[in-house]
């Protein structure tokens, strides 16, 4: 029998529906891989019983001749930013230690309704703040990948580092991610998997621990484009409980996948070609152009003039929103409380937040508080929001000349853990290619493009017009079919 953990979402769904294997067999196989991979620290909590329970329900439905959902029989990993009823949800923080939601997030609820099961809650950067999964209260996630030249532990990317590790190490066929400024695309690129950030508003934010509400967007992380299309279809949809949810029908993205790009124009933003760009990144970008040309597309040069200001604008806007969103952690309603002897209410707040937030979270809350404070608000926050308008306008003008944009996902392949953790700025620069699309709310993905000389994955990024996930995934599929990326990490952890 084939190793079921080598199968992706579509293959599992189809195999279960045809009766080639049962959903229970699939869940058991992935539960076993999860149990054997504690060295990677991808999960904060494992829930093998949940995976088996969902699988049992799918097998029973099939036996009874009932229609099966689009994710029927597919066990997935759930980023620990999604509230899951009865299962601890921490956002990888100490301050939410032991928090057990009495409700289920809309996105996870949609996935369970489609027949998916939960293998466990995946580790991440604390409150999704980080690009290497080194800020989690529950310890670093270790990438399953290793460079040919060294045995140093590598970063799985962040903030969805548990998700990227779980999918690339075959602990799960797919996982949820969230992307505020690259947190789906960058870890997908680092680990040789595919990740899609849909248009802002496609997936409900209800029940997702908030980081920066005008940017946060959930999306799928899986082995290939088709699997992401299936999973995104299950996650997305209008939700009246999220005031920014898009009230639009969810297209059947999987059915409309088409890698023929005849008549399509692919824009190459000249401002993304930065001084001192890594030669392997540049080569992979050139290769991407050739693949898309081969798929029938015309390559055109475009300009996104405000690109260099996207990252600094992001590091005002995201911390500002975070400082407001994280004000709710006060030691009163849920989570940690630190009440020093004789302390009053204000002291309790300050002590609880000192004990409950990690360094990076504190840094961002302080930056956010500062840029929103009286006297500085206009110079920082209002200016950043104006620059954001210009960045969105750049994209709108570029899309008058092209259908999608091709760019690298990251400025380098995965770096060793600890390499950048002492220098917040150099860590932030990792998201330089990912952040502009986030600020403009546009759909974007990362698809594996190949390996570096040292054997580490590189991703290519496709950015599309608002609501055009289809165009983005079609271009991604054209790359996928030509890259034939089949590398996977050696299983050193078990």
């Amino acid at each position: 029998m084939t190793d079921l953990t080598e199968l992706g979402v579509a293959a599992i769904r189809d195999g279960v529906a045809k009766g080639d294997f049962t959903a229970r067999e699939v869940a058991e196989a992935f539960n076993a891989n999860v149990a054997a991979a504690s060295a990677l620290n991808a999960f904060i909590v494992t829930t093998p019983e949940k995976a088996l329970e969902a699988a049992g329900a799918v097998d029973a439905d099939r036996a009874a001749g009932k229609a099966l959902g689009s994710m029927a029989g597919v066990p997935i990993g759930m980023k620990d930013l999604f509230a899951t009823q009865g299962v601890q949800t921490t956002a990888a923080s100490h301050i939410l230690g032991g928090f057990v939601p009495p409700y289920e997030s809309t996105v996870s609820s949609n996935l369970w309704a489609a027949g998916a099961g939960m293998l466990g809650k995946l580790n991440l950067d604390q409150f999704a703040m980080g690009s290497s999964n080194e800020t989690s209260y529950f310890g670093n996630v270790i990438s399953p990948w290793r460079s040919r030249d060294s045995n140093a532990e590598l970063a799985p990317g962040g903030s969805s580092g548990g998700s990227s590790t779980a999918v690339s190490a075959r602990l799960a066929p797919a996982a949820t991610g969230t992307d505020t400024g690259g947190s789906i695309r960058q870890p997908a690129a680092f680990t040789g998997i595919t990740g899609v950030k849909p248009t802002y508003g496609r997936c409900s934010r209800w029940g997702v621990v908030a980081f920066a509400s005008s940017l946060d967007q959930a999306g799928p992380m899986a082995r290939d484009i088709r699997d992401c299309a299936i999973m995104l279809g299950a996650m997305a949809g209008f939700d009246p409980k999220d005031s920014t949810s898009l009230d639009m029908p969810v297209p059947d993205w999987e059915a409309a996948l088409n890698a023929d790009l005849k008549g399509k124009k692919v824009g190459i933003p000249r401002e993304y070609r930065m001084d001192g760009m890594d030669a392997e990144i540049e080569a992979s970008w050139e290769q991407g152009k050739a693949w898309l040309r081969d798929a029938g597309a015309e390559i055109v040069d475009i300009s996104l003039p405000h690109t260099k200001y996207a990252l600094p604008a992001y590091y005002i806007i995201a911390p500002a929103e975070a400082s407001s969103n994280l004000a709710r952690y006060d030691g009163v309603r849920y989570g940690l409380r630190d009440l020093p002897e004789g302390a009053g209410l204000q002291d309790m707040y300050a002590a609880t937040r000192a004990a409950g937030f990690g360094d990076e979270v504190k840094r961002r809350v302080l930056i956010g508080t500062y840029v929103l404070s009286a006297g500085f608000y206009d110079a920082y926050y209002t200016q950043a929001q104006k620059v954001r308008t210009l960045i969105a306008r750049d994209f709108a003008e570029a899309f008058e000349q092209c259908d999608v944009i091709l760019a690298p996902t990251t400025p380098s392949a995965a770096f060793p853990l600890g390499d950048k953790s002492d220098d917040p700025l150099s860590m932030y620069l990792n998201d330089v290619f990912a952040v502009p699309a986030s600020l403009a709310g546009l759909p974007a993905l990362s698809v594996p493009a190949g390996l570096t000389q040292s054997g580490l994955p590189l991703g290519l990024q496709i950015i599309g017009k608002a609501f055009d996930e289809q165009g983005v995934m079609n271009a991604g599929l054209a790359i996928e079919q030509r890259a034939n990326f089949s590398a996977k990490p050696d299983r050193w952890w078990a």
């Binding site: 009495p102 409380r337 309790m348 302080l366 508080t369 110079a379 200016q383 709310g441």
Partner: protein
């Protein structure tokens, strides 16, 4: 613009995060590095540009004026609301004394 230790202490107090002297000392250069870097936004000519308020055009909806129309966000669930509270008392959130 740059911040000194006194300013960081003030921000930390506004953000309700207790910080001792060592932490404040450590934060000063870290915050200044970040602030010096975001300063470049000042170069951008934004005259006549409106600050962004919604990334994807959307209209704010009103929900139907029906009590507990969605039980998930409706009322009458006191025990669930208090289930994760660190110190619930008599059906309320417990806090240290706030009146002197």
């Amino acid at each position: 613009m740059s911040v000194d230790k006194q300013t960081v202490a003030k921000i930390a107090s506004l953000a309700r995060i207790r910080m001792d002297d060592d932490e404040l000392e450590r934060m000063v250069p870290e915050l200044n590095n970040i602030l010096a870097w975001v300063e470049q936004l000042g170069e951008v000519d934004c005259s006549g540009v409106e600050p962004m308020t919604a990334v994807i055009p959307n209209t704010l909806r009103l929900r139907a004026d029906v009590v507990d129309a969605d039980p998930l966000t409706g009322g009458g669930i006191r025990d669930k609301v208090l289930a994760n509270a660190p110190a619930p008392e008599h059906g309320f959130f417990g806090v240290p004394k706030v009146i002197e």
